[in-house]
């Protein structure tokens, strides 16, 4: 019987099989940020186990609240910083070099096809875009990952999602994944790997694939994953050119991870996106999704563009397309958080930051920012935010506030009109 990509990755990293359902995997990349790592660090210290299994496999960043806003967050930053220095972790990104983890780490070429990746952050599934098995874990799993370089998982069952047709102008990966989550519900992919295939995925850039995989967790999935191909090889080429004689050879090598034709899937779903409209959430769960036409007219107070879902350069370009030469509505405040310093610098060079600022946006440093209501852009009671983030849970961006999730294009159109609106009408 053939294997899925997830099964192939598991087989290549198998350390132990305590039961037929449970495996222990060797981990290629252990990623850390300042919210979920400090308690692991202090616990290891308290136990006299202040060790790291392999410093070259650890990546760390301060991203959720940056620069620190109070003593507590300054302390979290200090703990992870001191630890990184103590263990000589090269790939630690401090203030000035830091950005949103799931945008920064791919930029640095840390993720490769066939890798196993864990992080104390549920949106780790983003990195499945590279054909890696990338899963979010809790602090204890992270702690053991740091100490031993292993993690336990249950053997992977995969749902295959084939995306066909072609996306209309104005419709993007964010709209596709919101629609998929609506179809599956927040519990529809629990304990499953979501494998995204089909011509639409093959035609997506790496950034679009990251948006797709980023929200796999919102359907409950263990991870999302795309098959690595030429698009993957081109993105990674600066980092892998010493390993392969040519991009063609890299592409050929990547195929060893592809799911076999006779691999078994627990569920198959086919989605033709040709008629798909932009999607928007309406309630307090990511599966409460409606087409933008049904949400048209919903007034908003704040528009947030950024996050590990949609804070990359293509997202900024998309929003700028609508914002160019326009002003945002008087009842709206707009906030842009470019996800990394590189995105920020590139946006400056392309004149995008000027477009945002002239439209009336506040531009922040690279950070998770408003997404979690932990630092800046917090909503007041009764306020409404149109956001390119990934969660609209009750109270997430601020107690008593509500978040409507959407694509950067829809968010930009919403900012201009002062209410949720179909961006295709402004193109």
């Amino acid at each position: 019987m053939g294997k899925t990509i997830a099964e192939k990755i598991f087989a290549a990293h198998l350390r132990d099989t305590p039961t037929p359902e449970n495996v222990i995997l060797d981990i290629d990349v252990v990623m850390c940020h300042e919210i979920t790592t400090p308690i692991a660090i202090t616990d290891l210290e308290a136990r006299g186990m202040d060790r790291v299994f392999d410093t070259s496999k650890i990546k760390a960043v301060i991203d959720h609240v940056t620069p620190s806003k109070d003593s507590k967050t300054a302390t979290q930053g200090k703990i992870i910083r001191d630890w990184a220095r103590r263990h000589k972790i090269q790939d630690f990104f401090d203030i000035g070099a830091n950005g949103v983890c799931h945008a920064l780490f791919p930029e640095k070429g840390f993720i490769r096809p066939g890798y196993t990746v864990i992080m104390g952050d549920s949106h780790t599934c983003t990195h499945g875009a590279f054909g890696a098995f990338a899963a979010g874990v809790g602090t204890t799993d992270l702690e053991v990952g740091i100490l031993k370089g292993v993690c336990s998982f249950r053997t992977p069952e995969t749902m295959r999602i084939t995306i066909t047709g072609s996306l209309q102008d104005g419709v993007s990966a964010k709209d596709v994944i919101l629609f998929i989550i609506k179809e599956l519900t927040v519990n529809g992919a629990t304990d499953k790997v979501m494998e995204f295939v089909g011509p639409v995925v093959e035609g997506m850039s790496m950034e679009a694939r990251m948006t797709l995989c980023n929200m796999a967790i919102e359907a409950g999935a263990t991870c999302g994953i795309c098959l690595p191909d030429r698009v993957t090889a081109k993105y990674l080429w600066p980092f892998i050119k010493d390993q392969y004689e040519s991009i063609d050879i890299a592409v050929e090598d990547f195929t060893r991870w592809h799911s076999d034709p006779d691999a078994e899937y627990v569920k198959e779903m086919t989605l033709d996106v040709s008629k798909l409209a932009p999607q928007v959430t309406f309630g307090y769960k990511p599966d409460e999704v409606k087409s933008v036409t049904e949400m048209d007219g919903t007034p908003v107070d704040q528009v947030y563009i950024g996050s590990c879902t949609n804070g990359r350069i293509e997202d900024l370009r998309s929003a700028a397309r609508i914002l160019k030469g326009k002003k945002i509505a008087a009842n709206v405040r707009g906030i842009l958080s470019p996800a990394t310093p590189k995105v920020y610098a590139q946006a400056l060079e392309e004149g995008l930051i000027a477009i945002f600022m002239e439209a009336g946006f506040c531009v922040t440093n690279p950070t998770c920012g408003a997404c979690l209501g932990m630092s800046n852009g917090v909503l007041a009671e009764g306020e409404i935010c149109a956001s390119t983030t990934n969660r609209n849970f009750n109270g997430r961006m601020g107690k008593g506030g509500i978040v409507h999730l959407m694509s950067p294009l829809t968010a930009a159109a919403t900012a201009v009109q002062g209410h949720i609106t179909d961006p295709r009408n402004l193109l």
Binding site: R15, D16, P18, T19, E21, N22, I24, I35, T36, P38, I39, T42, D43, R47, M49, H64, V65, D70, K72, T73, T75, Q76, G120, D121, S122, T124, G136, V137, G138, T139, T140, D141, E143, V144, L147, K148, V150, S152, V186, N187, T190, D191, G220, T222, Y284, K285, L372, G373, M374, R391, F393, N394, G395, R396, K399
Partner: protein
């Protein structure tokens, strides 16, 4: 190994997420104990008051997809520091469930009909857990004994007191 059992807190809703269990703004705390009073602060559930309803409880009984959303292990710790070491649900979100066992706590999945039975036992229900026999005894309006499945690996984690202890010995 932890002690499992006690008075039940019924949370009659699906998809209770970890942001509701412990809002992100509290994730800047440096110790697990500091989370204690924030438990279930943002839970959207009619009739539920976290300031009154948690007191004296040792077990949560709830519906499907409990603990969905963020991977924050703080959602498990906030139960732990409130002396709740067992959650019984129709189903769990993957990361939350793993975090429970990683901390040596019990995330027990029961078929829908058994969850219905528990919800039907009235308001004051006491739960005891027999790990050896893999049964739950629930004493409410009447007494019921319900079997549950405990995976061998999960059992080892609970007996070891968590994943760190287990991994340290084995890997």
């Amino acid at each position: 190994m932890k002690e499992f059992g006690g008075k039940a807190l019924f949370l009659d809703r699906n998809d209770i997420n970890t942001d509701e269990i412990i809002p992100a703004k509290y994730l800047t705390e440096n110790t697990k104990m500091a989370l204690q009073s924030f438990i279930l602060e943002d839970l959207k559930l009619g009739g539920f008051d976290p300031r009154k309803d948690i007191e004296g409880k040792g077990v949560i009984i709830t519906r499907a997809n409990f603990g969905c959303g963020s991977s924050r292990e703080h959602a498990v710790w906030v139960f732990e520091v409130n002396d709740i070491n067992v959650v019984i649900a129709e189903s769990f979100a993957r990361i939350f469930r793993q975090n429970m066992y990683n901390c040596g706590m019990l995330a027990i999945e029961l078929p829908k009909k058994d969850i219905e039975t528990l919800f039907g036992l009235g308001e004051a229900v006491k739960i005891s857990v027999d790990l050896g026999a893999c049964t739950i005894t629930a004493q409410g309006d009447k007494k019921v004994v319900i079997p549950f499945k405990l995976n061998e690996f999960d059992k080892k984690l609970v007996e070891a007191g968590g994943w760190l202890a287990y991994a340290d010995k084995n890997y």
